[in-house]
Symmetry: none
Subunit: 216 residues, 4 copies
């Protein structure tokens, strides 16, 4: 993690894949801090303490590096979410816990979250998003859909197909996380209260009204 400093001007060997990791970490940090388009390969090389060409021994080009950084960000989210089995998604409480995992991930790993969901790469409107990044995002989104489909199939949600509900839910969660990250100086209400209230709001919006059950 911390580069071992030798006594020559040259950087010591990045024994094995450590150098590669260093680059990925530095890139993640820089991209997250300054935005994808604002970070140059020179910046990344400089942050790692190596020369530009070294980047190209580890990654084919800038886009490749960017794609890998993004994929990693998604896979970190994946790891957070995956232990939470689909079968556990039985009701509102489970739903809230699941949502909370997502929110906590974003707030605890802001760099990865920005990379995955907030940063835009395209320079002009016409440029398409890198398909690899898109694919990684799709996989993650499927988790939402699977879980909501489970709730839908149990008749717990308001009517609507799982895909639509999943996109709505995602948007609801993302809004909170991304605003908290992007506008840290805003006079937010108490964070814990805000999160709880927001998730409650989403649950209220998605679930069948609770009075359905007690109703006679």
């Amino acid at each position: 993690m911390i580069p071992v400093e030798g006594r020559s001007t040259r950087k010591p060997r990045g024994r094995g894949n450590e150098r590669r990791e260093e680059i990925l970490n530095a890139a993640l940090r820089l991209f997250s801090q300054s935005g994808v388009t604002a970070v140059s390969t020179r910046d990344i090389a400089g942050a790692v303490g190596i020369s530009q060409p070294v980047l190209y021994t580890h990654f084919r080009n800038r886009d490749d590096l960017l794609a890998e950084v993004t994929e990693r960000a998604f896979s970190e989210l994946e790891q957070r979410v995956s232990p939470f089995s689909i079968d556990a998604m039985t009701g509102r409480a489970a739903f809230l816990r699941f949502c909370r995992i997502y929110v906590d991930f974003g707030l605890e790993q802001p760099d990865a979250y920005r990379m995955a969901f907030m940063l835009e790469k395209r320079k002009s409107r016409l440029e398409a998003l890198d398909p690899r990044i898109l694919a990684a995002g799709l996989k993650t989104f499927q988790r939402f859909e699977e879980r909501l489909a489970r709730l839908v199939s149990r008749g717990l949600t308001r009517p609507g197909d799982a895909r639509l509900l999943a996109q709505t839910l995602w948007a609801g969660l993302h809004g909170l996380v991304s605003l908290l990250l992007a506008r840290q100086d805003f006079p937010w209400a108490d964070r814990e209260t805000l999160i709880t209230r927001h998730l409650d709001m989403l649950a209220d919006g998605l679930f069948q009204p609770e009075d359905v059950t007690p109703r006679r």
Copy 2:
């Protein structure tokens, strides 16, 4: 509406500020068409039919121009919202219409929206986000709060103070707009359906269950 002069170093004497207006209009159009990063000062000058240096007699630099364009975009939002008086905010339907205006604005003025709500203060390079833009965003948020306070005072919402509700609502709306902007290639459901459903979900989450009142 909002005074937009007195900020540039030199003001052209010629025929009023027509030239300045032309530039702002052309810039807004180009930014919306191709994205902020893809438009160069040369493009803007070309679109207006003037030379690049003229831009610098009207605006200190590109960022200045950008900030002013954004302010204009937000003053347009203001105009869209203003006919919609707070007193009209009496129920769910009015609430939905109000939210819709916000969403539409974000989708139609993506770069203004990005600057106001999505771009972050760059930490590495010291170019802080222009305070004028941040101010424009905050003013918009105040509208949320005012309107929700009105609904709260009428006992139409689920319990909670207006500020908390406003932040939750903002997050809910922002999530949709920002995701649609940042991940345009994502296989979204039909946009119109998605927006309608999303706003419905937010309304369901924020309003008192409708059946409470009418239920017999």
Copy 3:
């Protein structure tokens, strides 16, 4: 032609198209001296005494500049050859004079000649020659063909179609010019004698044996 030196560090305006001409001339010289692939835009800018970006205000890119330099080279040859009307091509003597013009052009304007016929642009085998350059070459080659067609139609040449003869003739002339240019240190025979002898050889090879006429 000679850049007017001002007293500031900046280069004075290239009034009108003079700057463009300067660039073309410098590029021709450099390309011819060092080969097309060995000359960078930086070299060219440096030779003219301007910065690199200026090149791009006069030419879209390096290839464009290269193409124009080449086209000019061909057009110089064109100008040499064109006063020599096709109708004048009546016999061996005229043929020799025509060939001599070609040879003299190459030896007197070596830069243009190199550009037109000797320098290769492609970096790898697979890359095709710029179509503009090819087109310019074809036009020039047609002159050969037209002239030889005239001789063929009069039954003066050995049998064969004009195109084939023209290519053979071109190769014959080019060999002499290009070797003289490329191997100036070689212990050549007296240049005048060599040229005369070479053109004679080509005439002997292309024309009907002279004894055809006197033979009874």
Copy 4:
């Protein structure tokens, strides 16, 4: 055949010069396939299955390797020509076969040919053309002279001293080869036909008119 050792700084001890041979062979193959400029030292090392630095234990630098590869190519030409003894050079048919070998060599080893006969001493950058390569070219020219001297001494050629005739012949052949190499995209006539016709033309130009002797 020709001693190719003793020029590099360090000679590998290992199993003789096998490694060195491997490198030369791979380089010759790659240069022929993709062109000299398109092949990097990394490509060569990769083709041999060794690391880049190893190249530098066998050759001082890329130019050194290049020179040696060219020498080898020319030694191949030597081999092609040598079975063709001077004494066999008795008439037009033998002359044509000899010329054909030269042409074929140029077309099959284009980069060797380029280096020997087409590349010029670079004036701007001081990297003079390797003298070894020039020497190889000169040696080849001597073959021309020897053979033509033989024909001259037998009274088979049109009048002229062998050196002059040899230079003329060389120019004639070189023109065809070099144009075919430098302008590959030109719409040449069928290559085989063109070569045959061209060599015929040269023979017609150099030999005594055939009908002189047999004429009754």
